[in-house]
């Protein structure tokens, strides 16, 4: 039992969407709550059961009402749970906090909210746990954490309790004082923030909040009230407010109370764990930043301790103080010291790599007392970072990639700033370093080395693209590298793409591509392997995109590789290689200097069209050849235009584009997921099954009817299917993209095993403005019970994208499975009546699965006839001789029957029921209740 829950909960948390596909959130929530209430259940398991509520409260309680009910339920579980299960009770408080805050709409707070708040406040004040033989983590601490989280979500919620919280913190001597302090600091910060937002607020209000003056309190209470939570401003840090403005509260010099509250918190800050201490200092920094009357020097006493710390988060707080107060707390010597400290820390042998990287980032965003730039760009070099200081951060090949790149970037910025373009030693060092990386790549570096080298190369180019001697040399080195390792082609192409994109004024990428084209075309074909050739073609394709690069070398190279005499490469008929060749040709077709290449290109295409070993390639070559020789330049360009803006048409792509260059194909080949259901199936108003016109003049039958009837069951095709009709329509969600859908393939999946697997169905198209298509679903029951089906669909939209969507489930109702008696067509009424009589007799014996029952209800004569007419007409096998009795025979595939004798007795209408499948009784009962009620 317990292990079942462990798996269930972990399956839910791993993927709630997949989990809820098999059940629904209400069902799961109900199960969880039932198990939580169960006294026999193990409390360790119960703790686990709370985790779905803590992690996904909004999913399990999607509405206020569900949230409300769940919260009340959890609160009652809390009151009933024995106090010794502290962990469970603590987790329960956490779960309650999550449910109460996350399930409610932001605007309307749940009614259980104040009760829970009272409970938390009461728990937070309950010091009785101290004297007992005490659990490890007291409920009190958790209550404080929950309160803090609520205050964080609804800033100002507890501002009237500030004095109380301060008092608790003051009296507490166990480790718990940290929890109170964290709470108090946040409440204080939010309260001060709230006052800054009020026009008339001043020293008196502040004093009132801190518990000095009761009379003003009420007034403030009325106006302020906790923030609704709609506004995000109180949640965000005030130190980095928009445009660097800090909301301020003008109090005049008189704010002794606040000052003493701050000092007392600061004095004790040393007693807190580094994480809590940093958070506390940060909150207090915010408070002091908002109240100009408090001098930032209040932090002075803590500063030295913080500057020497080995804790990343404490030093970070110091930096944030620096950023908030600049020279009102840090003199220029302090600033220089702090900065040096950062440089030390960013290469300290005892710190972890992520910490060092973080400090490096801090260097680039150092809050200077007197910044020179106004910080438009993301990264600005602080004046304090001299090349000499920065030399501590020179990259070396032993660095890990992230450190290396980060240092490379930093040093590049430093040397750029120092104007080292010409003969600076620093720049030389960087270039040498880049060369070292290149050597490593050359001598078989791992993938990571390769990527790091190309990133470093990009950084170098990005900063020093104007220093020609290095950049030209780099191009040469890259060409040599390429000749040795052609597999770096995608990296080189990527480097060319990025430099071109980021440095539109630089012609470096063009130079590189030109050089690559040259070295490729100069390579003797005989020395080229098939793999090299593929990469060469990739590079040449890229080079052919540049109008400024003359393509004669490329043409020479292509003519070199195609004659079968010179190599076995192209005669091999490799499809991918052929695509590579055609890819280059295709780019050449739209190259501006096409005129001058007309004849050699035509020759190449003609040759490929005639001699290539692969039919598909020959066909495409022929198409290109025809296009080249028959179309004008403009038309050619239009036909072959690629990378068209936005809604590219698929038709164009399939006409002229081949596999190898279809980067855009990815989105075509990917199946996209719709965010909401956009189509659905609704039940079609199916035409009533008519009562069959029966052959009247039929002779009495000698043979036993039942046996003849049953003999049909042997045949596999016998009446085993139920056909349902649905209309496929759009849902209310309007999205123009989905107005016209094509090739819709509907997939049905079963939720139980009452039916055989269903075939997918195809619908050619669905247009919003046209009548909805009818979808016929053929169900083959194994057991004739109601069920529901999951439906999903894959379809194509007009822009050629393929989508997957989930449709709302469809229900298979009980009455939809009813079929009239599947008697042989030659039978008349008498035969059917005989079957009815025979079956009735058998079933009344109540042997095996057979059962009979009676359903009564009040109905007038007329209403009864109407009801029978409406619901049972196709199934009637009434004997005309019994005028006051209707007989209906419902056949439920594959082999079940429900027989009804309906008659009006003096007090009520009696539905006598007989069936050969007793499990159908509840369903028939429900059904009868439903139809007789309406």
């Amino acid at each position: 039992m317990a292990s079942g829950w462990v798996e269930k909960v972990s399956a839910f948390c791993r993927s709630p969407s997949r989990f809820l596909f098999g059940t629904s959130s209400e069902v799961f929530l109900a199960e969880l709550l039932r198990e939580l209430r169960d006294d026999r259940a193990n409390y360790t398991v119960k703790v686990l059961l709370l985790s779905p509520l803590c992690e996904y409260p909004a999913l399990l309680c999607p509405s206020d009402s569900v949230g409300e009910e769940t919260a009340l339920e959890l609160m009652s579980i809390f009151t009933q749970s024995p106090p010794k299960f502290v962990q469970f009770r603590s987790q329960l408080l956490v779960a309650l906090t999550c449910v109460l805050t996350c399930s409610s709409d932001v605007s309307g707070r749940l009614r259980a909210f104040p009760d829970f708040l009272d409970l938390l406040l009461q728990l937070a004040q309950d010091t009785s746990d101290l004297h007992g033989d005490a659990a490890p983590r007291s409920l009190r601490a958790t209550a404080c954490d929950c309160l803090r989280e609520m205050e964080a979500l609804y800033p100002g919620l507890l501002s009237q309790r500030l004095e109380l919280l301060g008092g608790h913190r003051h009296q507490e001597t166990s480790r718990l004082h940290q929890a109170y302090a964290g709470l108090q600091a946040l409440v204080l910060r939010n309260a001060v923030y709230q006052l800054t937002q009020e026009k008339e607020a001043g020293a008196a209000h502040l004093r009132a909040l801190l518990g000095g003056n009761e009379s003003v309190e009420c007034e403030a209470d009325q106006n302020a009230g906790p923030a609704s939570g709609k506004d995000s401003a109180p949640l965000s840090s005030v130190i980095f407010g928009p445009m660097g403005t800090v909301p301020t509260l003008h109090t005049g010099p008189d704010c002794k109370e606040l000052r003493s509250a701050l000092s007392s918190l600061l004095e004790e800050s040393y007693l807190f764990t580094p994480l809590s201490q940093a958070a506390l200092l940060y909150r207090l920094t915010e408070v002091v930043a908002m109240v100009p009357a408090i001098p930032p020097t209040i932090f002075r006493a803590q500063l030295l301790r913080l500057l020497g710390t080995s804790e990343v988060t404490l030093l970070h707080t110091t930096l944030l103080m620096k950023s908030a107060f600049t020279d009102s707390l840090f003199s220029s010597e302090d600033e220089a010291f702090l900065f040096k400290r950062l440089v030390v820390l960013s290469q300290h042998p005892l710190l972890s790599t992520p910490e060092k990287l973080f400090y490096m980032d801090c260097i680039l965003h150092f809050p200077e007392n007197r910044p020179i730039s106004c910080g438009d760009s993301d990264e600005a070099l602080p004046v304090l970072l001299t090349p000499r200081l920065a030399s501590a951060l020179l990259p070396v090949v032993f660095n890990d990639s992230a450190t290396l790149l980060s240092r490379f970037n930093l040093l590049s910025l430093v040397y750029l700033e120092a104007g080292e373009e010409e003969d600076g030693r620093g720049l030389e060092y960087l270039y040498e370093h880049l060369t070292s990386l290149l050597r490593i790549v050359e001598s078989g570096g791992k993938r990571e080395n390769v990527v790091t080298f190309f990133r470093a190369a990009f950084l170098f180019l990005f900063h020093f693209h104007h220093v020609e001697r290095y950049c030209d040399n780099l191009s040469q080195q890259l060409c040599q590298l390429y000749l040795q390792h052609t597999r770096f082609a995608p990296h080189l192409i990527n480097l060319a793409d990025r430099t071109q994109e980021k440095l539109p004024d630089s012609s470096w990428a063009l130079g590189l591509l030109k050089a690559l084209q040259r070295v490729i075309s100069e390579t003797p074909v005989s020395q080229t392997t098939l793999r090299d050739l593929r990469w060469h073609l990739k590079v040449l394709t890229r080079a052919a995109e540049e109008g400024e690069i003359s393509q004669h070398g490329t043409l020479r190279f292509l003519s070199g590789i195609i004659p079968p005499s010179s190599s076995s490469l192209s005669s091999s008929g490799d499809w991918r290689l052929g695509n590579g060749i055609l890819g280059v040709c295709r780019r050449l077709l739209v190259h501006p200097s096409l005129e001058s290449m007309f004849i050699p290109l035509a020759d190449i295409l003609q040759h490929v069209a005639g001699h290539y070993g692969d039919t598909d390639i020959r066909d495409h070559a022929r198409l290109y050849y025809t296009l080249l020789t028959t179309l004008s330049r403009e038309k050619l360009a239009t036909v072959l235009a690629h990378h068209a803006e936005g809604g590219q048409q698929v038709k164009k792509r399939t006409l002229s584009c081949l596999m190898t260059e279809g980067e855009g194909l990815t989105s075509i080949l990917t199946i996209h997921e719709t965010e909401v259901a956009i189509i659905r199936l609704i039940e079609a108003d199916c035409e009533q099954l008519e009562a069959e016109d029966l052959v009247q003049d039929e002779a009495e039958r000698g043979e036993p009817v039942l046996e003849t009837y049953r003999a049909q069951f042997g045949s596999a095709a016998f009446a085993s299917q139920v056909t349902l009709k649905f209309l496929l329509t759009h849902t209310e969600t309007r999205d123009a993209r989905f107005d016209q859908l094509f090739s819709i393939r509907l997939h049905f999946s079963l939720t139980d095993d009452h039916y055989s697997e269903l075939q997918d169905l195809s619908v050619p198209c669905l247009f919003r403005e046209r009548p909805p298509p009818v979808v016929t679903l053929t169900l083959k029951p194994r057991e004739p019970y109601p069920s529901s089906l999951h439906v999903s669909a894959i379809f194509t939209t007009q822009d050629g994208l393929t989508w997957h969507t989930t449709l709302p489930d469809i229900r298979v109702c009980f009455q939809q499975i009813f079929l009239p008696l599947p008697a042989p067509p030659s039978w008349g009424r008498a035969g059917r009546q005989a079957v009815f009589a025979g079956l009735w007799e058998e079933m009344s014996s109540e042997t095996g699965e057979c059962a009979s029952s009676l359903f009564c209800c009040q109905l007038e004569e007329k209403a009864l006839s109407a009801l029978v007419e409406k619901h049972f007409l196709p199934f009637l096998v009434s004997d005309p001789s019994h005028k006051d009795e209707f007989r209906a025979l419902l056949f439920l595939p594959p082999q079940s029957h429900v027989l009804l004798k309906i008659s009006s007795e003096e007090d009520a209408v009696h539905f006598c029921i007989a069936t050969d499948n007793w499990e159908l009784l509840p369903h028939i009962n429900d059904y009868l209740l439903k139809i007789t009620a309406s």
Binding site: P136, P242, A278, H316, N409, I440
Partner: protein
């Protein structure tokens, strides 16, 4: 200051990756939603997150040479905060995802960005960033703490403890403290300790005789090229580890580090947060500045109130004038053989009494070693099982001359090729030294037993120790062209 979600992932070099634990903090997520408004990007489900993270860390699809998403040369200054690009459903960029890895365990979290939506704030302006880093590092220590085999049952049992640990250290997404690593047990019950407040990081009260244990461990690193054009490098850093068993709620202990006369000052001092106060002169010396000779050189006083568990009181770096062992390594290719010549000199200032001292000479990008005709003047030489490494065990002492040599020829005629290493092509090769010297430090830094002050009624027992060991101590072949390094 809060985290939206937390993940613990195990993998073997990117293969068989699985999420071993994950936790989403719903209330923080709600704050994230309100803070970022329309630009809100929800945390994806575990499977999706795992794929994105592995790609971003370059751990997925290791067989493919170039994956645009992973290998783009465009430098994004991302580390330590990663960016994950979520495709449908719920498109957007998840930032800043912090991830730290050790061995095959990767820990990741998503800190809350408490800034107004729109422009992305710099990483350094988010306190949640450093909090996340600290918290992840603390969790990592907890999960991989000694006594637990990394993938064995230790990790499994610690992962099983995680839900209750999180309830204690981070119940609602705001990390409050780091999990205790010393014992698997929970902290001791709350105690009221009279008028003095108990520090939140002191998890209980010690009763018994006061014992203070202080050990100074120095590590020396070196990179010796034996080449005029390239300066040899070495550096020394030290840590002072303490274990204090002292009675009292907030006991006072002072440890003083002292240097010999003319010793170069301790630099880059970092102290544990339990140090109560610091003299500003202690922090002045820094390795990134040139020392003008006038800097403060001790004694360094550290008054503190110790936590119960062992901790690093402080760390420092030091500039010593010479490396403890100076080496020279020369290789010459002679036809099919490699002529090897090594000289190692122990500096006279270093105590000649090792716990161990070994020189490793690996050979890469060659066949396995066939014939090894190498003589050593002292110690013992072994060829590794894989036939690509010479291990020279120098024992506990250098000879009186403080100099040892190795001379000889190696024929690489083994049947199989040895390992490859892109750094060591041609004659580029190195010796790596592993040594440990007890009861000494290079900087001369020491803690005198009598300088440790404990303010308590009973006389405390005080134990101090020192040791020096090597790490990344490389001696490169001086005959190779070192453009690589």
């Amino acid at each position: 200051m809060s985290l939206r979600a937390l993940w613990i992932i195990s993998h073997e070099k990117g293969e068989h990756a699985s999420i071993r634990f994950s936790r989403r903090f719903a209330t923080v997520e709600l704050r994230a939603k309100r803070l970022s408004g329309s630009s809100y990007v929800a945390v994806p489900e575990d499977d999706c997150f795992l794929q994105l993270l592995l790609t971003e860390l370059g751990l997925s699809g290791s067989k493919q040479a170039f994956v645009a998403q992973r290998d783009d040369c465009l430098y994004r200054p991302r580390s330590p905060a990663l960016e994950l690009h979520i495709t449908a459903p719920g498109k957007g960029t998840l930032w800043p995802v912090l991830a730290i890895s050790q061995a095959h365990l990767t820990l990741a979290c998503l800190p809350l960005v408490d800034a107004s939506p729109g422009q992305r704030p710099p990483l350094s302006s988010l306190l949640s960033e450093s909090q996340g880093l600290s918290f992840l590092a603390g969790l990592q220590t907890f999960l991989l703490a000694p006594g637990s085999k990394q993938d064995g049952e230790g990790l499994v049992s610690r992962l099983a403890l995680l839900p209750s640990v999180l309830l204690q250290v981070c119940p609602l997404g705001t990390p409050l403290e780091l999990p205790l690593t010393g014992t698997l047990a929970m902290p001791s019950p709350l105690t009221s300790a009279g008028i003095q407040k108990q520090p939140a990081w002191r998890t209980g009260l010690y009763r018994g005789r006061a014992v203070v244990n202080v050990s100074v461990v120095e590590t020396v690193r070196s990179m010796q090229y034996g080449n005029r054009s390239r300066q040899d490098l070495w550096d020394v850093y030290g840590t002072v580890a303490c274990k204090c068993e002292v009675e009292g709620v907030l006991p006072n202990v002072t440890v003083t580090l002292s240097l010999p006369p003319n010793g170069s000052p301790l630099q880059d001092i970092l102290v544990h947060p339990c140090v109560t106060s610091l003299d500003s002169s202690v922090l002045t010396a820094s390795s990134v500045e040139h020392w003008d000779g006038s800097a403060f050189s001790g004694p360094y006083k550290f008054p503190f109130s110790p936590p119960l568990e062992p901790f690093i009181l402080c760390s420092y770096t030091s500039q010593v004038p010479v490396p403890p062992i100076l080496g020279s390594y020369q290789l010459k290719e002679e036809e099919s053989q490699l002529h090897v010549s090594v000289v190692l000199k122990l500096h006279e200032s270093v105590k000649n009494s090792f716990e161990y001292c070994e020189a490793h000479l690996p050979f890469y990008n060659r066949d396995q070693m066939g014939v090894v005709e190498v003589k050593v003047s002292s110690g013992q030489l072994d060829v590794s099982k894989e036939k690509n490494l010479l291990v020279w065990a120098l024992g506990q002492k250098f000879p009186k001359t403080r100099e040892v040599t190795m001379e000889g020829k190696i024929l690489f005629s083994g049947p199989e090729p040895g390992p490859s290493e892109p750094l060591c092509t041609g004659l580029t090769a190195y010796i790596k030294l592993y040594f440990k010297v007890p009861d000494t430090t290079l900087s001369g830094c020491s803690v005198d037993q009598h300088s440790v002050q404990v303010y308590s009624s009973a006389k405390p027992r005080i134990v101090t120790s020192r040791e020096l060991h090597s790490k990344d101590y490389w001696i490169w072949n001086s005959t190779a062209f070192h453009s690589l390094l």
